[in-house]
Every structure is written in structure tokens, then in C-alpha cells.
């Protein structure tokens, strides 16, 4: 356990082994100049006089990561898919005309044809239109759930890691409890009593069960970051808790959170489809891939296309986000360099 406040004496701490296997964040390179005010020292990294870099520009974790990513074909591919998905989510009518709720029973189970490249499902709804509109729901739920989880989890975990002590212990036990709840079972129990037709209960549920993961990562990462010399220096110079947290610790502890959240985004999209498939997630008339997969599954022998297209779209989307997360992790983890 890290020592709680008050601050340790300057120059004593330092080389602790990172906890929780968190990715050690280095950066903000440069030597410390004790003569200047601590803020200036840390904000304006000295430019190049050390002579190690060929250029004058300082190299940070982020710029390194960006340079890596640009050269990574996995990132480019997944990025393009995700850009496309986001575009489709914002403006679905650009590539699919007509309403996804417009169904004509006379066309039920018909195959690919003019105006309906993916054919029609068992109710005579246009599978192409529904697949396109389904992207909006999936991306909305995925992004909002991830944002919620990341914010909630990193704030709680970060504070616990920074202040330590009894709050840290309490929070750690609470996360243990949440980790013990099986996600699908929890969804069946909690969401089955919800009657709302909107996406909010589903997002709320994901945040509720998802935050402990991020919270643990953030806690470990903050604990690592707060041992660093520059934090000790800041503390010695009398910086307030909030200044230390926001200025010095957060920027250096956020990388692992971003990596985990990006990978989790894909799994949240899959989870939304799972819950909707089971009938407790989103409810019609909301258009969702999970609902469509569920509705089409009894017809697999007669109209497999109605099942395969939304399933394929779901698989592709989840894959794209997980690949993106993977690429981001590779770029941000110095150990993998």
C-alpha cells in the first residue's frame, strides 16, 4: 500500500515498482530545476539542450504514440471502419433511404433485390435499412457507456489511489463486490423490471457494472504516478491536492485508462446486442442489431440473410473497436516498444 499523506520528503521516494501491473507512464522529460517555481519547471519542459534528440521538439508519450499509430495498418483499417460507422450513425439516411420501421409483409423473407440489397426479413422489413440504422444505436450505446464508465471509474479509482487509506480499502472492496456480479445475469435481473423504451437504462446498467474495471486500472496508475519525483517535487513546493491531481498525476495516469476503455467499447457494443437479443436490452421500436438477430434466428432455415447481415455488421463493429484498442495499447505501452 502506498503511504498516505502527509508528503514524503523530497528526494527520498522515487523508484517504486509500479503496482497492479499498470503501464508505467513516463514522459514530461527533462531535469528539474529546483530554483524555478515548480509549475514552470514542469510545464515548460526544457527544449533540447540535453542533446539526445535530433530535433528541437520535445518528445512526449502522446506524440510518440501518434507517430506509431500512423504507421500501424491495424489502426488505419479500424479507424476507417469506425469513421464510417460514426458517419452512418450520424447520417444514416445518406446511404439508406426509407424508414427502418416501414415493413411490408408481402415481401417477407424475400432475398436481395433492387432497393433492398440485403433482402427482407420475416416481417418484410428492409434488412439493409435496418442494419444501417442499427449502427446508430450500437455506436451510441457503446460510446456513451464507455464515456460513463471511464469518467465514473477513473474519478473514483483515481481519488482512491491518490488519497489511499480507508477510502481506498472501502472502494477496493466495493469493486470486488461488483466484479462478482455476472454481467448477463445482472442484466436479466435488473433490466427485466425496466419498462423504458430508451437507451438510457441499458447505458446506466453498463456503467453500473463496468466502472470497477476502469476504477482499478485508474487507481493503480495513479498510485504509480504519484510516486514520481516530479509529483514529490510539486508536493514539496506546496502544491494543492487538486493541482497535483489535475496537473501532474492525471496526464500521466490516463493512458492505461484510455487503452482499456477503447477495448471495452467493443465489448459494450456486443453486450448491448446480447441484452437486446435476450429481450431485456433495447426494446422495439428502437432499431438494434441484437433485436434483429433475435427476431431473425427462428427463420434461419428459410431466410438466413436476415440473420447474417446484422450479425456481420455487429461482428465487424466489435472487431473494429477491439482492433483500435489493441493498436492504441501497443502505441501507449512503452514496454511493448
Amino acid at each position: 500500500m502506498p503511504e498516505p499523506m502527509p508528503p514524503e520528503p523530497l528526494l527520498s521516494g522515487g523508484g517504486r515498482v509500479p503496482e497492479d501491473g499498470a503501464i508505467a507512464a513516463t514522459g514530461m522529460g527533462g531535469a528539474m530545476d529546483l530554483a524555478t517555481a515548480e509549475g514552470e519547471t514542469l510545464e515548460r519542459a526544457p527544449a533540447g539542450p540535453d542533446g539526445t534528440g535530433p530535433t528541437d521538439r520535445p518528445r512526449s508519450l502522446w506524440s510518440d504514440a501518434w507517430r506509431d499509430l500512423r504507421r500501424n495498418p491495424v489502426f488505419i483499417l479500424s479507424g476507417l471502419v469506425i469513421l464510417f460507422l460514426v458517419f452512418v450513425s450520424l447520417w444514416p439516411s445518406v446511404i439508406a433511404s426509407g424508414s427502418p420501421l416501414k415493413c411490408d409483409l408481402a415481401k417477407a423473407q424475400e432475398g436481395s433485390q433492387q432497393g433492398a440489397p440485403f433482402g427482407y426479413d420475416g416481417q418484410g422489413c428492409n434488412v439493409y435499412t435496418r442494419t444501417v440504422y442499427g449502427a446508430r444505436t450500437s455506436v451510441t450505446v457503446g460510446v456513451l457507456a464507455t464515456l460513463g464508465v471511464a469518467l465514473f471509474g477513473s474519478v473514483l479509482g483515481g481519488l482512491a489511489g491518490f488519497f489511499g487509506g480507508v477510502w481506498d480499502s472501502v472502494l477496493s472492496r466495493i469493486t470486488d463486490i461488483f466484479f462478482a456480479i455476472p454481467v448477463v445475469l445482472g442484466g436479466l435481473v435488473l433490466l427485466s423490471v425496466v419498462t423504458s423504451n430508451t437507451v438510457w437504462p441499458v447505458i446506466g446498467f453498463m456503467v453500473l457494472l463496468g466502472w470497477p474495471q476502469i476504477s482499478r486500472i485508474a487507481r493503480g496508475s495513479v498510485i504509480t504516478a504519484k510516486q514520481n519525483d516530479y509529483v514529490q517535487a510539486a508536493r514539496a513546493l506546496g502544491a494543492s491536492n487538486s493541482r497535483m491531481l489535475l496537473r501532474h498525476i492525471a496526464p500521466n495516469a490516463v493512458a492505461p485508462v484510455i487503452v482499456v476503455a477503447t477495448i471495452a467499447l467493443g465489448t459494450y457494443i456486443a453486450l448491448e446486442a446480447t441484452l437486446s437479443y435476450l429481450g431485456v436490452g433495447l426494446k422495439p421500436p428502437t432499431v438494434s442489431w441484437g433485436i434483429d438477430i433475435s427476431a431473425a434466428s427462428p427463420y434461419i432455415r428459410n431466410a438466413p440473410h436476415a440473420l447474417l447481415w446484422p450479425s456481420g455488421a455487429l461482428a465487424l463493429t466489435v472487431l473494429a473497436f477491439i482492433m483500435l484498442g489493441d493498436a492504441v495499447r501497443d502505441a501507449l505501452d512503452p514496454k511493448l516498444r
Binding site: D104, L188, S192, L278, G279, P284, P285, N302
Partner: protein, 542 residues
């Protein structure tokens, strides 16, 4: 559990994968008359008290473990004497019933006149709160044992029932009811052994009856095992060793189990498989007319559906449903668009009248839109059709009905389906009057009389009047028809009552349903009776 149908399916599939034999079809092969068959089923809503069971799944079991005064012929549906030696009347109001000698319950107790009278008194008594109490409503003294509207119960027994001797009892009705004897095959009129009254809890956990089967064990949510009662005195003894009724929450799973050889009999072929069923099963697929009509009922206890103009909204909804298209595409013509509130199995003489509904059941989107606007629009701008998701492929047709309504009204969100996970839960929600919009109401007849399609469903406070529709004119016509001794005239009066129902659109008729079933090659002599229930006792297992 709201709509969590696939969850249980997944759990069951996992269980099947782990213990493949656990879902096997009986297992004991060899002995012909001793072999047990397995059949798909759903949990009944209530414990199996005969007078408290008014739904299909519980009724299926009662048909196997009870025999009443009459029995409906499995082919024609005609009421034939079973335990009744004779039922005599001179005025259609006072009946003398003689019970056959030699009948016992499966615990050895004799079936006597008292077994019937006690059972009927129990069913009619308000304090026992039986769902089918209403079936005893015409017996004299019912107003004292089951006062309406919160009145105080002043008698425990019906004054119209009198035991004359061991085998004879008399029934006095409060008005003429010419077809009363024909209703006596309904399980609510079944006799009950003394054990039912002395050890009620014990009886509920393992019901004792007088039918060809006896309950061996029941695990709620999983299976009920019924075994042949070897000493059954009737002439319709079981020709197999027993039946295992297995609970399925999704008829697709049951169908898949049938194909995989894990189940012997499915009496509810899923709509999605109707295209394949002939290929899959060949002549092991049954599709026979049955006394079933599917309707949409309305919650008349909700003032949104019970104000002036809402009859126009209901008629408008009826006209917005393209029954022809739905029965053809979703049900592959195993349903027929309904044009009245009865069933073709009654026959013209029995009261079925094609086209009685008239325009009100014809698909006409323009007229539908106009009617709904005239009636003040849909309450809250949207209707939710509530249904149970575990049986009957209801999701498919509810979605189709909603799409039809949406297309007619030109509003994508005018109608949405609202699934309830299980039939039992769905029935409970209806019983608790929790509906806020139209809900699925199917009616499988209890006995093949037009009276049974109208009175229990639409008479004020009747046992299955789920929507609490109430209409004085209708009630009077039904009473009048029941008192009529001339059958043709009675039928005519019932049809007048039906017209009253039509003009107020008390429920939207959707389609007449065929019974459909599929079975494994272990079985032979499988039949569906006019109620669409498999005639279990005649099934042979090889």
C-alpha cells in the same frame, strides 16, 4: 420476467449439451404399453384445482387426470356420457343426474354423487376464490355462495344441489338452460375425492383424480410426469405407459428438440417452421381444424378504452389489420381470417356465421385511419399490444399486426408489441388488470357450443372476460338464448348478441386457428381433438 425468452432457451441448451440424456424422450424402450412419451408443455398459471383452471396448459393436465359426467368425443366434439348414467330433465331447469357405478378415484375412493356435489359447492364458494366459479352461476343459490360486488357470502353450499342417494343428485337452476348437460364435460365440473378437502395441501402437490392418468411428480418450470393408472375403470384407458410433460419457454426449442429426437410430441409448431414442417416430419405433422379463435381484447377498466368514441378507435384498429396477408405469410395458411367471434368447428347449425363481422373485419387502411381519427385518435398516440412470448409464435403475428396498423395509419410508431416472458405471468398480469392497451386473447373452446364462445368471454364479470367488457343488451340476449329450448332459435339469439358485440367491437377477432402438432417416429395413432389438445390416452408408443 419481461420478454426474457431466449435466456431460458440458452440455459436449457447448455444443460442439454452437458447432460444429453437429461432431455431424452422417456428412455424406457421396449414394453409397448409401458413406454412413456414426452410432450411439450408450459407451466399452468395456478395449482391444478379443476374449478380454478381456465387456461390451456392446466386444462391439458385436467383432461388427463379427470373424467367428468360427460366427455367430448375426440373426433366430433360431441358431448357423450362418461360418468353420467343418465341426465334427466323435463323443463330444462331441474335436472336429475345419475352417476355410473364402479368408478373410483386413483386412491381407491368411490366416485359418488357426493363427490360431484362437494366439488361443485367448493368451486362456487366465494371464499375459495375459484376462477371458474362463474360456471356454477346458473345453479340456484349461487347468489348466496358467490355474491357479486363485495356482498357478504351467506351460504357455503348451493341450495340447488341435493344428494338423493349414493349415485343420484339433483340440480336446480335459477333459469332455464337447455344445453346445461352438454357443458358438464368441462373440467370445472369434475368430481373431487375427500382427500381434496381433508388434505388440501397434499392434494395440490400431487392431485388425485379419476382419469386414465395419475400425477407422478411435478417440478415447476421443468416437468410434470403422468403415469398410466392401471386400474382405470373407464373404456378410454391409456394405451401408453405415461406422459412426461416438459416445460418449454420457446416453441422453437421444443421443435428443435423434436427433430433431434429429444422430444416425442409438440402440439404448437412454431410459425417460423411452418414452411419446413412438411419436409421435416412428412405425415408426422398434424394440421386439423380446432375450436380456437384468436382475438385482441381491450382493458375496459382503463377509461382510455371505455369512453365515447373508443368503439370507433377499436373498429378502426380492426380494419387496419390485414388478416389475409398475415395468415398467409406468418402462418402459412394454418389460420383463417376471422369473420365472426366463434369458430368454424361449430358448423353453421352450431352457430358459426361467416361474415357476421361484416365491414368491421375487412382490411381498409383509409377507412381505418378515418375511424380512429373520428374516435379521438389512439390513446396516448400509441397502442402497445401485450402478449406472452413463450407459446404460439405470438411475437411474429403481433409484430405483423403492428406493422399493418402502422402502415395503415402512416405512423411508424403507432403500434408496438409488448412481450411478457411466460404465459403464466401474462395471465397473472391480466388477472391483476394491469393492461393499458390491447392484449392477445385466444379462446380455445371448453365445449363445442356457441354459448361457450360468447358467455365466458363477454358476459358481464364472466370468468374469462379479461377486458371486463360489459353490455346490458348482450347479457340479456345471452340469458334469453340460454333459456331457449329450441336449438335453432337459441343459436339465432346468440348471434344477435354477437352483433351487439360487433357494434361495440368488444374484442377484435383476428383468425381461426388450426391445431398443429408434430411427433416423433416412436409414436403412432396421434390425434388432436377439436380443442387442439392431443388425445394422449390413444397414443401408442413403440
Amino acid at each position: 420476467m419481461r420478454g426474457a425468452t431466449h435466456a431460458k432457451w440458452a440455459a436449457c441448451a447448455a444443460a442439454v449439451a452437458l447432460v444429453a440424456t437429461a432431455c431424452g424422450g422417456g428412455g424406457d424402450s421396449g414394453g409397448d404399453s409401458g413406454a412413456v412419451l414426452s410432450s411439450s408443455w408450459g407451466d399452468p398459471q395456478n395449482p391444478l384445482e379443476p374449478a380454478n383452471t381456465n387456461e390451456v396448459q392446466g386444462g391439458k393436465v385436467l383432461d388427463m387426470i379427470f373424467r367428468s359426467l360427460k366427455k367430448y368425443n375426440p373426433e366430433t366434439g360431441e358431448a357423450e356420457d362418461m360418468l353420467a348414467e343418465k341426465i334427466e330433465t323435463s323443463d330444462s331447469q331441474n335436472f336429475t343426474i345419475t352417476v355410473k357405478d364402479g368408478w373410483t378415484f386413483s386412491n381407491g375412493e368411490k366416485v359418488t354423487a357426493k363427490s360431484f356435489v362437494d366439488a361443485w359447492n367448493y368451486g362456487a364458494s366465494l371464499k375459495n376464490n375459484q376462477k371458474n366459479a362463474y360456471f356454477f352461476g346458473y345453479i340456484e343459490g349461487y347468489d348466496k355462495t358467490h355474491p357479486e360486488d363485495g356482498g357478504k357470502q351467506t351460504a357455503d353450499t348451493l341450495s340447488g344441489l341435493k344428494v338423493v342417494d349414493d349415485r343420484t343428485f339433483t340440480v336446480k337452476l335459477s333459469q332455464k338452460f337447455s344445453t346445461f348437460p352438454d357443458t358438464l364435460g368441462y373440467p370445472a365440473y369434475a368430481p373431487l375425492p375427500q382427500a381434496f378437502f381433508t388434505d388440501h395441501a397434499g392434494w395440490l402437490s400431487k392431485p388425485i383424480g379419476n382419469g386414465p392418468y395419475a400425477v407422478d411428480s411435478y417440478a415447476k418450470g421443468s416437468q410434470m410426469s403422468l403415469r398410466k393408472w392401471e386400474d382405470y375403470p373407464g373404456d378410454d384407458a391409456a394405451e401408453n405407459g405415461g406422459v412426461d410433460l416438459k416445460v418449454y419457454t420457446d416453441n422453437n426449442t421444443a421443435y428443435t428438440d423434436l427433430l433431434a429426437g429429444n422430444l416425442d410430441l409438440v402440439d404448437d409448431v412454431p410459425a417460423a417452421q411452418l414452411k419446413n414442417v412438411k419436409n421435416d416430419l412428412g405425415d408426422r405433422y398434424l394440421n386439423t381444424p380446432a375450436g380456437i379463435i384468436q382475438t385482441l381484447a381491450f382493458p375496459f377498466y382503463d377509461e382510455n378504452w371505455n369512453k365515447s368514441g373508443s368503439d370507433k378507435v377499436r373498429t378502426g384498429l380492426s380494419r387496419a389489420i390485414d388478416r389475409e396477408q398475415i395468415t398467409e405469410t406468418i402462418f402459412q395458411k394454418t389460420r383463417t381470417p376471422a369473420t365472426d367471434w366463434t369458430s368454424p368447428v361449430l358448423g353453421e347449425d352450431g352457430g358459426f356465421k361467416e361474415g357476421l363481422c361484416g365491414d368491421a373485419c375487412d382490411y381498409d387502411p383509409a377507412e381505418a385511419k378515418k375511424l380512429i381519427q373520428e374516435g379521438g385518435g389512439l390513446p396516448g398516440g400509441q397502442v402497445k399490444i401485450t402478449y406472452n412470448a413463450d407459446t404460439g409464435s405470438h411475437k411474429q403475428w403481433v409484430d405483423a399486426v403492428c406493422n399493418s396498423i402502422n402502415n395503415a395509419l402512416g405512423n411508424d410508431k403507432a403500434c408496438v408489441g409488448n412481450p411478457v416472458g411466460t404465459f403464466a405471468d401474462f395471465r397473472s398480469q391480466i388477472g391483476d388488470q394491469k393492461m393499458s392497451g390491447p392484449f392477445r386473447a385466444g379462446w380455445q373452446m371448453d365445449y363445442p357450443l356457441i354459448q361457450n364462445f360468447l358467455q365466458p368471454l363477454y358476459y358481464t364479470n364472466a370468468s374469462s372476460n379479461d377486458g371486463k367488457w360489459s353490455n346490458k343488451e348482450f347479457d340479456d340476449l345471452v340469458d334469453e338464448a340460454n333459456a331457449e329450448t329450441d336449438t335453432a332459435k337459441a343459436v339465432e339469439t346468440f348471434q344477435q348478441a354477437e352483433e351487439v358485440l360487433r357494434d361495440n367491437m368488444g374484442a377484435i377477432p383476428l383468425w381461426y386457428q388450426n391445431g398443429s402438432a408434430g411427433y416423433s417416429d416412436r409414436l403412432s395413432n396421434v390425434k388432436l381433438n377439436p380443442f387442439s389438445v392431443p388425445v394422449y390416452n390413444e397414443i401408442k408408443v413403440s
